[in-house]
Symmetry: C2
Amino acid sequence: MLKLKAKLLGIDAFVETVAVLSDEDAKKLGVHPLERIVIRKGNEEVAAIVNVCKSNRRIKPGEIGIYQELEKLLKLKNGEILEVSRREELVSKIFIRKKLDGKELSYEEIYRIIDDTVKRKLSTLSLSALVIAYYVHGMSVKEAVYFSKAMVETGKRLELDERTVADKHSLGGIPGDKTSMLVVPIIASLGLKIPKTSSRAITDPAGTADRVEVLMPVSLGLDKMKKVVEATNGCLVWGGSLGLAPADDLIINIERPLSIDPFLLPSIMAKKYAVGATHVVLDLPVGPEAKLKDLEEAKKRFKQFWEIGKELKIKLDCVVTNAYQPLGTTVGPAIEAKEVLEVLMREKEVKDLEEKALIISAAILRLTKVVKSFKKAYKTAKEVLETGDAEKKFREIIHAQGGNPRIKPEKIKLGNVRIPYKAEKEGYVSVIHNSKIVRIGRIAGAPFDKGAGLKLYKKLGDYVEKGDVLFEVFTTKPKVKDVIKFLRMFEVYEISDKKPKLKPTVLKILRRSRWRKLF
Amino acid sequence: MLKLKAKLLGIDAFVETVAVLSDEDAKKLGVHPLERIVIRKGNEEVAAIVNVCKSNRRIKPGEIGIYQELEKLLKLKNGEILEVSRREELVSKIFIRKKLDGKELSYEEIYRIIDDTVKRKLSTLSLSALVIAYYVHGMSVKEAVYFSKAMVETGKRLELDERTVADKHSLGGIPGDKTSMLVVPIIASLGLKIPKTSSRAITDPAGTADRVEVLMPVSLGLDKMKKVVEATNGCLVWGGSLGLAPADDLIINIERPLSIDPFLLPSIMAKKYAVGATHVVLDLPVGPEAKLKDLEEAKKRFKQFWEIGKELKIKLDCVVTNAYQPLGTTVGPAIEAKEVLEVLMREKEVKDLEEKALIISAAILRLTKVVKSFKKAYKTAKEVLETGDAEKKFREIIHAQGGNPRIKPEKIKLGNVRIPYKAEKEGYVSVIHNSKIVRIGRIAGAPFDKGAGLKLYKKLGDYVEKGDVLFEVFTTKPKVKDVIKFLRMFEVYEISDKKPKLKPTVLKILRRSRWRKLF
């Protein structure tokens, strides 16, 4: 063990904890570049990746260079003295290897892996081996329950003094799906607690946290989040900043660049479990390019989620929705936030988006037994939207989270370069390729660049003339070349002579009480 | 694209290429921390991981901070102007995903992956996905041929003006296997070219490159290697510094921390192909803890190697050897180098080591048709060892590679802390757990710490009294605690009342001409 003086470098390597040692101190500790050390400050400890600096250059013996993530986690100041030691051999690496070989892991094994993940002791390589092992071999319901529990136990929990805590979540797969931003104010304005946490986009141009962040801070601490929910009944915050299931975010950071998500089930259920949700409505989008291809797959997923929910004492219904095209007319963090605001203010009518938000709200009202019949529940939700109560509640939440409650839609900043995509012939829009909409949004810079995205002028079934603008891409100068290259290469919309048959926005509601009818 | 001024940081992050941008320039380029940029200097380009520094702290706008690996690859100097741009989307990521889903890759797909690997464009995450995908799904002979060829085509080749170029390689799995260091001088002293390249240890305490490096530089350039072979007929160099199949070393750096090696076949064959080998003898160790468990597995491997060899026009025989215990009496880079020197000088007799080296040398002499009968070949090799010709040749090679040709065994430095491991009862040594010998060597600090390792005083079949020292561990102070903890926890030797039945050092020679007898 060495005592070293912190030297903050102000360098950002995203979620990676990096420390720079002089080669003299590295030798003393017996560590080499890219190995890990454990850094202790009082009772807190975090592991870090070692980089080594030639003696007497930037980092001198006795000093330790600190990257931003490490600075943040240990709340470090320049000159603080830290205890630094080699990371011991990790038994969790053996468990990961076991999974690579296709074996099921026990709760104890999973807990060790998740605990080492949170303490940053596992390397990126080991974590990627874990993620890929579950991608290849699949995750049992039992393992998903174990991961959910371990993720919650290695983090903080939201403790609300309520018997009923509602929540909703979407499995994703519909570009432009901003439903949560409508459901939360509707439900909250009816007196139910709904402490909604969201993740940032994994493979999409925008996650709900990315969208909400355009209007208000989403990186709240847990205490602040609790205050917001106690004051307004609801919130719209990023799950990653709360310390709720912190392992989840580190795992998502591995899944994202690999474009796979084997931890989907525990990832969602851990977040619900950690906020103390008692009733959850899950949105399962189906479509040719969504994660779920058809109703049968959705039913299977419902069963898995329901079984995990049962173990965690969470009541759960599912809503199967239409993923054949983007929801609403916008894709991208800022442009979607703008659309939500316009809908709440009744300045704009966006039928599919509103319909979906009302059905999910109604499903929550029925599951929690606030309203008994679905029909009545739907009517109740609709009134709240139309009277402006939902807008009022939304602005209350913006205010409580520290945003500007008087924000006007036209003040929201979008990418300053606009690239139109035009119809090459006349006819009906018969196919919109979601995966290409997603790729364009990503290439345009979303979700990191909040102003990047798409505005759709035509949707499925619309009749278009040759030369009509189908959609516009919002981006910035460095990305223009890539966007144009992509648009030239791929067909994003298909136009046909025949008007296509359209599916409803919500296809089915799956409930446990209807189990026998389902399977 | 931006033109930025290099600022060498002198920070070592092992093989990772890292560059630090000011947040202003990162924004201009549209890149975020942990994304990759491409850095151009003249005709050369290398990709690097982006770290971002708050403006006007250590890295100012217009500057780019350069880590050591990047400095080395582009031969950079302070103040040089570099062209920096975002890395374009990689099509090779799609091919890796395809493999994750269990599909076979084509040559074009594999070539793109390997080319992007060499240019550092693929992230560690993507490379680990590749390695793990092949670990889980396995690699076909066809894919192994493609990887071998792609690895050679994206690097340099050794061009010797010779019709016959011999080589040998071991699949590994025997701790302390230093056979190459005897075979090369024996074969070279008989007039055959043997340009031996070796890798560093992946999961073992010492690879041949680690051992040889104790006596002479092993990181030679290709031109220097060629000169050494032309002058002495042989060499003992590290494959990684030559630019021969450079992708292989980057892949090994992923395999090493994960303790898996799905790229074993192309990894070995690419290195043989790149030095222009025409005749190769492969050593396939079998034993309960080796990669190959029995003769049947060895035959299967022989067939795979032979088939790859056929495509690459390399003639190949295999020697199946005994992996039931370490070879010789030493494990660890320095202590093994010392033993080799003592054997060549005939100061010490190490029966199993000498027997194995002579049989492999004889197999090479027969495969290349230098000597027709195996018996005669064996006798020839033995004479060379006993007359001291092999030692003379070895010292010639040390000299040619830039080491001290007059080096004495007693001058070789070992770890300064010695920890004895004693017998707890009397009897015959009946089992030596190789995997535990390996773990101890690693925990003691090998292969990074060259002086770390083990000296075995007793081997299989030896009779011991209670309290006899079975082996000693050589290590340094920071590792002592971990070594003792391990020794207390595990049984490394088993002692029994009955004398065990011993297997010969070499179990079988596999030849294509005997194919029908084999399968």
